[in-house]
Amino acid sequence: MSKESFQVLTMADFSAKGESPEILFWVGCAGSFDERAQKITKAVAKILHHCDVKFAVLGTEESCTGDPAKRAGNEFLFQMQAMMNIQVLNGYDVKKIVTACPHCFNTLKNEYPELGGNYEVVHHTELLQQLISEGKLKVSGGNFTGKRIVFHDPCYLGRGNNVYEAPRDVIQKLDAELHEMKRSRSNGFCCGAGGGQMFKEPEHGSKDVNVERTEEALALSPNVIAVGCPFCMTMMTDGVKNFNKEDEVKVLDVAELIAQANEL
């Protein structure tokens, strides 16, 4: 497969052409601004383009879903953000949304309907699973063949929305060895970022949550710790650094695994 350049279009671009995309790619704040998470965003965009999925982003018209405000207890700010976003989304008559952030996913899917925003929302791992099963996305192991991969469940994808199998199904396609931590699926252990923790120092304790979780993953001697959330990405990457293992163990999003395996 060759690397090709392409232009990511915005909803405004489509609108100007009098067209509408199949799906809106909701990038989220981390995916837009965090340097590491931008790579996940690009991997998703490349895969969508590779599979000829007609997609668009909101670009500068996108704004925080309000998730961190809501979890921290600021319902006012959350609803302000939600209603402004809903105005934009409904203005473009958006029907279907994909996002690589489980926090955006949960909020858009479960908390926007009561405020007038009704969309079909999927997590990027669900879309990848679907593209693979439809034959639009072919996956072979590439450089991951035979590698040991551990998947860390994001709370807002797993327990929050009962999506456990989609990321695993996608990873299984890589001809790699998928290993499970003792605390996985519905018993998964948080990375420590949720509930607004990402944006403040942790309370006093004996250990940081991400260190505890990374330790558990590292005990399985993985080559890759796979994640499905930009915040888990930050926490697990920091955790791996804490154990000075960043040269041996890579932390990668499921979309990055697929993009790299396909040399996109």
Binding site: A72, F76, C155, M198, S206
Partner: protein
Amino acid sequence: MFSQIIFILLFLASVVFFAQNIKKIRRNINLGKPLDRTDRPKERWMTMMRVALGQSKMVVRPVAGIMHIFIYVGFVIINIEVIEIIIDGIAGTHRFLSFLGSFYNFLIGSFEILAALTLLACFVFLIRRNVLKLKRFWMREMTSFPRSDANAILITEILLMTAFLTMNATDSILQSRNFEHYLSAGAFPVGGMYAALFSSLSSESLMMIERICWWFHIIGILAFLNYLPYSKHFHILLAFPNTYYSNLEKKGKFTNMDSVTQEVKLMLDPAAVPPEGYQSPTSFGAKDVYDLTWKNLMDAYSCTECGRCSSVCPANQTGKLLSPRKIMMDTRDRLEEVGKNIDKQKKQREASGRRRLAEGLTAGGGSQRIDDGKNLFNYISEEELLACTSCNACTEACPVNIDPLNIITEMRRYLVMEQSKMPAEWQMMMNKIETNGAPWQFAQADRANWISSVAE
């Protein structure tokens, strides 16, 4: 005849006392805010059947789960025996149900096996708590009463089961001797085994032991019944309604504050006209038990302090102050305190009411909040609330679908929206969302900058 009268009086007294306590708990739960949990009845019944009746979440941890099933099934089934004991006690009969013949033998036989399994499970549980000292039974919130409460329950069950089996053992010897009214009835697979211990005793002594055990068993059960409302053990009753009224939404979905929606709509659209009679909300979130829903309060009474929530809580497991179990215990303790205040006030009212009645005045009613200068924050600290990652591990782990996360969220809402009390970093994060549309210091205009480097 004399013993029948004693029995009837004892029985009535304990039923009345129990009913009074239940009424109080019901009143306390109803202090909570309204919440509609009557939708999707079929799904609710199924949840109750699966989680409460079927113990589906208990067996996630197999050792404790299976032992718990022994006690649970034993408790439910052996209570059929209590029906016979009550009939015998009132009517002065002996083994009234024995006319059921071979079915009766089957019943008594299975009660005995379950009693033996219950004994085994109680011993295992006592060992886990007091000898192996499992971490979750020794956390910070497990102070003296929660620990002695658990031990009292287990020891009582052991005594009750021992009395039941000894009663059967002595009865079986009396039956074989054709002594007085001891007709051959029942099968005794367990009691029969250790009947040999008593075989050298005279029939009169045996009868005395049998009677003592009978009385001990029934008085023990009535006492146990009346201990329930004061104990964590109340879960044996509330597990059923509490799972029926479970949150059926996705765990990730937090409640929408409708009072805020109206305000935000008015703010975003200056032309909007508030609906007639609209009043701005006066308070946000939960400061005290009155601000929680009745389901939060039922959750608190349903908690049996097993600590599975805290043993999976990422904050708790990394040494933070937060323990979801403590949130539930604190909510119940505060609610009980509020309940006692209400009882006290009612008594005072009644006293002054009588005076006023004598003076020709009527007593004033109304049940407004009693200000005792305390609230939930006297029990739960900000530090605990702030440590939550909202990961839902606690709600997933709870064997009776208790939701500590909802209480934590409501209390955070109070702190943030009422008091503007939060860490400076959160204040910054919120300011950035408000001004930049992102929780970090980046300009909205730069949001799409990544696009230019996609195909690199």
